[in-house]
Symmetry: C2
Subunit: 387 residues, 2 copies
């Protein structure tokens, strides 16, 4: 099996991009990644996307995007795993390079969630849950997360504002990211006064509906140098990669407060990378809702059960903290264009590892971790990246 | 790179399966494939599906199916490439095994197109075309194929009933396939009298809307024997596999009557397999419409340009013919549950190569080819299988 490295990254700004159609947003990210890797063609495009069928009336999306990006002829396929689609596409791209099927592969994530005529984005997001046993009863996706958060607060006797620090941290970091949807810091008061969406989840617990695309260029590590020639930065290696699943319906889980697939994929990924937990310099966590940050930290063993929320302090998760989280704003502040998020996380991890993260640079970052969650924990992928 | 073999096959009957939900249909196929391979677990499930988002309000489908099939925990992802989704999923499964990422992989295709409440299947199928430059103008998917067929008939001065033989052959073979949707032979008169759907395409030129699922178990060839122990049949090896794309919109192609992606993927696949065209014993062609059979035969060089329709005779494409086509009924008679079709083709090719094709057995079949087309030719995958 060949080791796989990332030699190009690109991203579109995240936001309500009403003047750009889905294919144009993807072009912005893919052309930037190709320029970064100094390539003008590739062997294949694997595109993470969740909602193009339900919101855009467009399937066959990977071929369409390849065509629009001037890559007509290459292999193309869309990969879907709800909000984990982006990192699921990365897995496929890795397998394509590791196996030797292809030498130069583009992995992109794309989601267009706004400006969708006659479509209901909330209903679209609910397709991540079980249509027959969950959604049929009227629960939305934020509703499911709210039930989990409520249970967590009850079981562990946690106050409502305990989660504020995750949101404050994300916005503090997003304020320095020119591609973030919200480039504005918030205070504890902003959080406390935020309108409730689905009790106890408020606007500041929840990531936004938005558009965006991010892209990576993958090659075999042994050939990476020819793509980084003449540049001050080297390739970033994917040291660990794992995917695991759980029951799709929350009520089917043995313990709805434990992300089994996070633990499984995390343990596999660090074992592949051959590293210890305390070597991880930063963590791009899947903070779609603040409760997911707490549960992810607990499942991976960064915090004890019921105590993940205690890490939501600047000296713990800030850029200078013990384990910096959401270093470019995370899903909360950079934004969460669902099928693209997993790729944004990896693009941002590469920025950190290259020392290109600007004001948000984690000092001396050598090992980064990303975790991407589909549904309310049913599909979880963990990646470890290093220089 | 490890060579990949198929050690298990399974399929559900194809039809309007109103008493089975999507997950149940997938279970029928996957459990049969697992029993065939004598396994009770797997490392990953890659699921080809096109329409679950637009017709079933269900994404996150691969994880849902893994969960329902008792495979909770394993890696799962859905792969989409319009009507070529099934074989695109097979590519991903192959890469997973070839790279060493996984040892035992299930590849399945699944589509539920009937009994979809409040959804428009014709609109769903049109998502394979370009929503912004084709579908916006009101063309349906069958309409696009009708325009291609009309142009073909004009350019090459071909009469309307020239394509009848493809349909007659498919139904003759489907009559002996217990899983086929239509198990009834048709005559030339049935074809000539068939109602027109989109001129010149009639009911007998067109594959049906239906439900179905098919599944494969993949392992490394070097380990295949342990899965076939004690059985009279061996593993079937995937000798060639390639995917290619073209412009998504038909009007963007240099020549709308030439399937460039068919030629490209075909040439790559036979080159990998190291075989010559005349060694291929049968061909599971993508006969979604009779015109596609003609164009596919021409692009792969089995017939000259403008003469693919001349092969539509029993002594050419029948079970005893020079190049048997659609040996178990093809898309026309077995049925075309779109995201599952690519996997059905491979399952049927394995039946032939194992000598398990019953009354439709191609005598001495050693090398089989499958070709799966997404959209009106924008994504085409070719596989070569052998014993």
């Amino acid at each position: 099996m060949r080791s796989v490295s990332i030699v190009g990254i690109g991203q579109s700004p995240v936001g309500e991009l009403w003047n750009r159609s889905a294919r144009q947003i993807a072009y912005d990210a893919i052309s930037a990644a190709m320029a970064d890797a100094q390539i003008d063609n590739a062997d294949a495009l694997y595109l993470g996307n969740m909602l193009s069928g339900s919101l855009l009336d467009q399937e066959h999306l990977a071929t369409l995007v390849a065509d629009y990006c001037g890559l007509r002829g290459i292999e193309a396929a869309k990969v879907e795993a709800a909000c984990a689609s982006g990192s699921a596409a990365l897995r496929v791209g890795m397998m394509a390079v590791a196996s030797g099927f292809h030498d130069v592969v583009i992995v992109a994530g794309l989601e267009k969630m706004t400006d969708t005529v006659g479509k209901d984005t909330t209903a679209g997001l609910a397709t991540a849950a079980d249509a027959e046993t969950e959604v049929l009863h009227g629960v939305s996706f934020v509703g499911l997360n709210a039930l989990i958060m409520q249970r967590y607060m009850f079981e562990y006797d946690v106050p409502l504002d305990a989660f504020a620090g995750f949101s404050i941290n994300a916005h503090r970091n997003g304020a320095n990211n020119p591609n973030a949807m919200f480039q504005e810091a918030i205070t504890r008061e902003t959080y406390v006064r935020a309108p409730v969406i689905a009790s106890p989840i408020n606007m500041m617990d929840s990531s936004p509906v938005c558009d965006g695309s991010a892209a990576l260029v993958l090659v075999a590590t042994e050939r990476a140098r020819q793509f980084t020639r003449g540049r001050h930065v080297g390739a970033v290696r994917i040291l660990g990669s794992a995917s695991a699943t759980d029951s799709i319906a929350v009520h089917d889980r043995r313990d709805p407060l434990f992300l089994q697939a996070a633990e499984t994929s995390y343990r596999k990924a660090i074992s592949q990378a051959g590293i210890h937990q305390n070597e991880i310099d930063f963590f791009e966590v899947h903070d779609a809702f603040t409760i997911m940050s707490a549960l992810s930290l607990e499942a991976c063993g960064f915090a004890r059960r019921g105590e993940g929320w205690r890490m939501a302090q600047e000296d713990e998760i800030g850029i200078q903290g013990r384990l910096p989280l959401s270093t470019m704003g995370g899903l909360k502040s950079r934004g969460h264009p669902v099928g693209a998020t997993g790729v944004y996380q990896v693009v941002e991890a590469v920025q950190q590892l290259r020392g290109e993260a600007g004001d948000n640079q984690v000092p001396g970052a050598r090992l980064g971790m990303t975790q991407n969650i589909g549904g309310s924990g049913a599909t979880i992928l963990t990646h470890i990246l290093g220089t």
